[in-house]
Symmetry: C2
Subunit: 281 residues, 2 copies
């Protein structure tokens, strides 16, 4: 609880932890570091998840992961040792599929090959919108041009982005995320994308509804200051940033977003939350 | 002069043409359409350039072309039949090389292979800035990631963009231009790029200095409403948009930029300017 204490216990800043009834966990960079071979669990995180769950807190997982179907993604996490069920994981693709159905939209998809099964039942003929996810190597000039041409050919260009992350960390270094290509296409076509996933308030609200909690009763723990912490705060939740994953020292001096707490890792966050909860009972 | 008259002669709107002493011509989309095999001259444009030059007007060429060295580019235009000399052509790469020298910067280059000779004398070891041009197919995910990592690794990220165009037209369709990737890297690193080329005021001013003209004595003719027309107008020049190249009908209803005249093509622009000049003499 080393750094955790130093960052979160100043004055009365830990008081709010006592009212926490539920925890929403970001996954990549908090539970595990991605990379070759699927990545690996961050030290202490498997136990931290178990301790949070065992304590009686309501725990949900909220990810902008779009390189895999939700099912495959959870399989990967379970193989690492995390006790997570698919129904507790919220990711952008299933949320988008619901939107496409409701609004009768037919997407041109620029997404990762491994995400494609999420769209098996979606009509992609004569597209009337463009959807981009974290397509990684599929973000070639040719594929971006193709998406651009569909978009600019529409009477009213409509772009959906599965998240708006800037970059993420894999074991071999930082990698550009979908938000970067969203900005590229937004500029090319002079449109504003609809973001599905974090930090969209709708997305966080879906998770809160599933937990049957009010925003002030939940805390989001993530490594992304803007999308995890800032997004949760905009929704009325508290947000803790972990110093793992894509965390950078400069995040703690960000001009507009300030986390309600900074901790070394998920284990330290669990320590702080559980200690505070215990004090409270 | 058909459409030209209808768009430019309403009321006293042509009056300003009488004070024009110099003409700055955009190249791609005005003189020629690019595409496989180097592209082809737009009907009437070779003669229009000749007529403007023969009239005694000072004529310069201003391009954001960064897929070729200036020398090779002019060779291509001369092969099409245009009587253009290298010293009358202003392009971003030579302007950037001057800036790099003045500020002792060592760039990481993400530019077209054919532009590389412009940087032959530039030190690219231990880069302390990133330069992007219209790299076309070289805008792969891998190359963008590489540029991003250099940029975010700098204490003070410094990004130069050779132009900020959204897209251009080749014979096989619209293609994404450098500005799109500039916006991508700007977002990734939370920086603002320095744009070298149109619509930078410094760039237009260099051309005006070479012509020994005041801004109100010159008119810019281009197919790009924002970078040619808007850029020139910001500098105090007039701007005419041609309905060739990347022109789109919606340009004439743009919320913030309005050309001083819209003409079908460069031939029509030359007609309007020369008729007005003749009236004046």
């Amino acid at each position: 609880m080393r750094t955790c204490v130093s960052s979160m216990a100043a004055g009365s800043s830990m008081e709010w932890l006592k009212s926490v009834k539920g925890v929403i966990l970001d996954m990549c960079g908090v539970l595990y570091d991605s990379g070759e071979g699927g990545g690996q669990a961050i030290h202490g995180s498997i136990e931290a998840v178990k301790r949070l769950m065992d304590s009686g807190l309501i725990v949900r997982f909220c990810t902008n992961e779009t390189q895999n179907t939700r099912e495959k993604f959870v399989q990967k996490l379970r193989a690492m040792g995390f006790d997570i069920s698919v129904s507790h994981v919220f990711s952008p693709a299933p949320a988008l599929v619901r939107i496409l159905r409701e609004r009768r939209l037919r997407p041109h998809l620029l997404v990762h090959d491994d995400l494609m099964p999420e769209f098996d039942d979606v009509d992609t003929s004569s597209p009337n919108c463009v959807v981009i996810g974290d397509a990684a190597d599929k973000f070639s000039y040719q594929n971006l041009n193709e998406a651009f041409r569909v978009l600019i050919g529409l009477e009213k260009p409509l772009l959906f982005s599965l998240g708006q992350g800037r970059y993420y960390k894999e074991t071999d270094g930082l990698k550009l995320d979908v938000g970067v290509f969203m900005k590229a296409l937004e500029y090319a076509c002079d449109v504003q994308a609809e973001v599905v996933g974090k930090p969209s308030a709708d997305f966080f609200q879906t998770v809160l509804n599933d937990m049957s909690l009010q925003p002030h009763e939940a805390v989001m723990i993530g490594d992304d200051l803007l999308n995890d912490v800032g997004g949760a705060q905009s929704c009325g939740m508290k947000g803790i940033q972990v110093r793992t994953g894509k965390y950078r020292l400069s995040d703690e001096k960000h001009p507009s977003v300030r986390a309600d707490g900074y901790v070394d890792d998920l284990a330290a966050a669990a320590d702080a939350i559980l200690t505070s909860s215990l004090t409270n009972h």
